[in-house]
């Protein structure tokens, strides 16, 4: 593990801390302001600060320090946590997130002057209000430089206020000169794992020489108390050893040992207490048999109570596993699934399909597969939890206040899907606030709550994850969309389109209804990109819009990317797989549905629309499969950019899950082939790259694509 790895751990931890802090602040906002919630927020910020210091992210450290100071005031109860303060801290958290991002990407730290000032202001106000507790609050309201100094002071000085100028003394003398330090350990110094003898050793190690030992207080043997300190020493330290160096040894010794610096001082006196006389040196190792517990241990913190669920997102135990190891496991499970299917087929051929062991194996394999997939699954809450911030930003830039309703945030889906989901989701939410939800005045005029509502929901439905992003805005204005589409040349003037078709126009490349591209949603990506993103994840996006009542975008995503659903089709003696996400319908055409075009191309008439017929036989080799659409089956597929087409196959044989193996790594990239999979009968089947195939088909005038199966 090198320092980069450790830094990566730190940044993962930052993400977790940021989420924990946000969850805690949200809980505060909702009214849960108990000690543990606030403590959890404090701990989250504190933990980022610790790492920031360790890895040298000064700006991040400075910001977290100020933030933490305020949180510590809140924790102590000297700052009242009102709604305004919670909102300000949420803004501070946003800034902290930017700081973390900047530290991770190595870019410039964000401008935090304004929010820093507000944080400091809040701290100062509290200190002005109650200076009684001021002594207990170090460094509050100080600048970063002062803080660092304070840290260094603490690190170096044992009792800095007691001595005047030993620092100057050491370097001032001649190089060979020595300077003196006097020490007397008291009773407590022998307890708690401290050992005065070790300090003496250390002084010796620095080149110090014991020039005096005060034995006057050593009592008669019978009155000797092993936990008591009876001896005092004077050491002569070499001139080149600095005061700081020596002070470091006694850092944290505190009152357990009196120290005096400089030759004009003497060994500090024994602490006044009824000391019984005895003899011999303090036997430090035995000293702690009955440890003299100094001070009032009552004030020491009790173990923290069980964390409040609101503040602690994951109280369950977890281990970190390298993602690549996990993927190797999941790959292996994929192979297992295939091997099991092959075995089942083989046994079926031997008329042994119904043996008990096979059913058992099948159940076990399914279990393992589900569990392995669950490893990669993460709650979608990690994406949803970023939405409040987005809404705050949008609120400040658009002036529209939007309430957020979230349901189903514990719904789990694949890590990769989650990661790639945040971009389209962000875009959809920006759109909803920017275009969907009206201004407060407009909403009031329409008799709506002036505050808009955005609802996010996620649920698992029929083997897919369905995510719904709904606003209660004005809905999609069909006439405007249509007019725009006509103006952009996407639709013929006067075309009759259904409401659904009009709604779907907003996904067309080059479509944008906003009269001028706003800075919010118009970031150079349109809804077509959103749709492509969703499609890349093997999902679909649909629109439900009611004029005046709002718009909902519904994303249906697969549970995992490792295994897809496919339709197995037959061409001659070859099997091919068509990914099910592309398939719209399949049909057996009547001769009247087909129209010839050019020399050997055909178009299929589907309820008034003409689609090009693409004989898959062209891939599989002409003489193996049928070329007459009426003898085969047409599978109508849909692509994002190239419209629909009808793929001609001999027959549809099955529909099943398959594990994709890329040809790139095992063979080489092949046009119109997305990869390969192994079927239950052990044979390799190619997976059709529908997008590529339809693109090629629509681009060519005649002839078919190259005979690709020759390669397989």
């Amino acid at each position: 593990m090198n320092s980069d790895d450790i830094q990566n751990i730190f940044f993962i931890e930052c993400e977790e801390s940021l989420e924990a802090a946000e969850a805690g602040l949200d809980a505060c906002k909702a009214g849960t302001q108990d000690g543990e919630t606030i403590n959890a927020i404090f701990r989250a910020v504190h933990s980022i600060k610790g790492g920031a210091g360790a890895f040298g992210y000064a700006a991040l450290q400075a910001f977290t320090h100020t933030f933490e100071t305020l949180l510590s005031e809140v924790r102590e109860g000297s700052v009242a946590l009102d709604a305004e303060l919670v909102n300000m801290m949420l803004l501070a958290l946003d800034c902290l997130r930017d700081h973390v991002d900047a530290a991770r990407s190595g870019t410039d730290a964000p401008d935090d002057a304004a929010i820093m000032a507000r944080l400091e202001q809040a701290v100062e106000t509290s200190q002005a209000n109650g200076d009684a507790g001021a002594a207990a609050k170090p460094a509050s309201g100080k600048t970063q430089a002062e803080d660092l100094d304070a840290l260094l002071d603490d690190l170096l000085a044992a009792e800095p206020q007691d001595e005047d100028a030993p620092v100057e003394e050491a370097p001032a003398g001649e190089a060979a000169a020595t300077w003196q330090v006097h020490l007397r350990p008291h009773a407590g110094a022998m307890a708690n794992g401290s050992e005065p003898m070790l300090w003496l050793r250390e002084l010796r190690g620095l080149g110090g020489e014991c020039i005096a030992c005060d034995t006057d207080s050593v009592p008669p043997l019978g009155e000797f108390d092993v936990a008591e300190g009876y001896l005092g020493w004077t050491f002569a330290m070499p001139g080149e050893v600095t005061h700081e160096h020596v002070a470091e040894i006694f850092d944290f010794v505190g009152e357990d040992c009196s120290i005096a610096w400089g030759s004009e001082e003497t060994i500090p006196p024994l602490r006044p207490r009824p000391a019984e006389p005895a003899a011999a040196e303090p036997q430090v190792t035995e000293a702690a048999v009955e440890p003299a517990k100094p001070g009032d241990s009552k004030e020491v913190a009790k173990p923290a109570p069980a964390p409040a669920p609101a503040a602690q997102a994951a109280p369950t135990q977890s281990i970190r596993v390298d993602l690549s190891k996990l993927d190797t496991l999941i790959d292996g499970v994929g192979e297992l699934v295939i091997a099991q299917a092959m075995l089942a087929q083989r046994l079926a051929n031997e008329n042994l399909a119904h043996i008990e062991e096979l059913a058992m194996l099948e159940g076990l394999v399914r279990d393992i597969q589900e569990h392995a997939m669950a490893f990669r699954a993460q709650p979608i809450g990690s994406v949803f939890s970023r939405v409040p911030r987005l809404l705050r930003e949008l609120s400040s830039s658009t002036g529209k206040h939007v309430k957020l309703q979230v349901t189903g945030e514990t719904t789990e889906l694949d890590k990769t899907v989650i990661e790639r989901l945040s971009e389209p989701l962000t875009h959809l939410i920006r759109n909803a606030v920017d275009h969907g939800i009206e201004d407060a005045e407009e909403r009031q005029a329409a008799g709506k709550d002036p505050e808009g509502t955005l609802s996010l929901s996620a649920e698992q439905k029929a083997g897919r994850i369905v995510i719904r992003i709904a606003d209660d805005g004005r809905g999609i204005a069909a006439d405007k969309v249509l007019a725009k589409a006509v103006a952009n040349g996407l639709v013929e003037e006067g075309a009759q389109l259904s409401q659904d078709e009009i709604n779907n126009l907003i996904f067309a490349p080059g479509f944008s209804t906003a009269a001028q591209v706003s800075s919010i949603s118009g970031r150079g990506v349109g809804m077509d990109v959103v749709r492509q993103n969703v499609k890349d994840l093997g999902g679909r996006i649909t629109i439900e819009s009611t004029p005046g009542a709002g718009t909902a975008f519904v994303l249906a995503l697969p549970l995992t990317l490792a295994i897809s659903d496919g339709m197995i089709v037959q061409l001659g003696d070859q099997s091919l797989v068509i990914p099910l996400t592309h398939v719209v319908e399949s049909l057996r055409p009547q001769p009247g549905d087909l129209k010839g075009m050019g020399t050997d191309r055909q178009m299929l008439n589907v309820r008034g629309r003409f689609l090009p017929v693409v004989p898959l036989a062209a891939i599989a080799g002409r003489d193996m499969a049928t070329t007459d659409p009426c003898e085969g089956v047409l599978v109508i597929v849909e692509t994002e950019s190239y419209g629909q087409a009808a793929l001609l196959v001999d027959a549809i044989t099955d529909q099943r899950q398959f594990v994709i193996k890329t040809l790139d790594t095992h063979y080489r990239a092949v046009d119109s082939v997305a990869g390969a999979t192994i079927l239950g009968n052990g044979r390799v089947a190619l997976i059709v790259d529908v997008d590529q195939l339809v693109k090629t088909a629509s681009a060519m005038d005649q002839g078919g694509p190259a005979n690709l199966l020759a390669a397989a």
Binding site: D5, S47, G50, P138, L155, V300, P307
Partner: protein, 124 residues
Amino acid sequence: MMTHATRILTVDDSPSMRALLLHALTAQGFHVEQAEDGQAALEWLAMNEVDVVITDINMPRMDGFGLIEHLRGSARHADRPILVLSTESSDEKKQRARNAGATGWIVKPFDADKLASAVRRVTH
């Protein structure tokens, strides 16, 4: 002189801090065990032996103060050297740690050499 490498238990809820400590202390020739909070440290210490404990203060479940108190209250660990490693540096916190029975206090971010010498200082 001990015949084995000095065994250190580090207690910190931050994975990156644990990784840093493991890296720094292992490189210095120490044998390092790690726990993620006071409670986990106590559970580990109930079954295992260690020469030095290095603990953070701010941790969930059981914080550093609680851990030190518990250890000082037990017969086996009453005189175990316990170093506090914390970003905190207030006299109030230090006094609290001292009262609880801490042996030493090191301020984060730590310097690997200084930490190692602090460990050597409290061991034999």
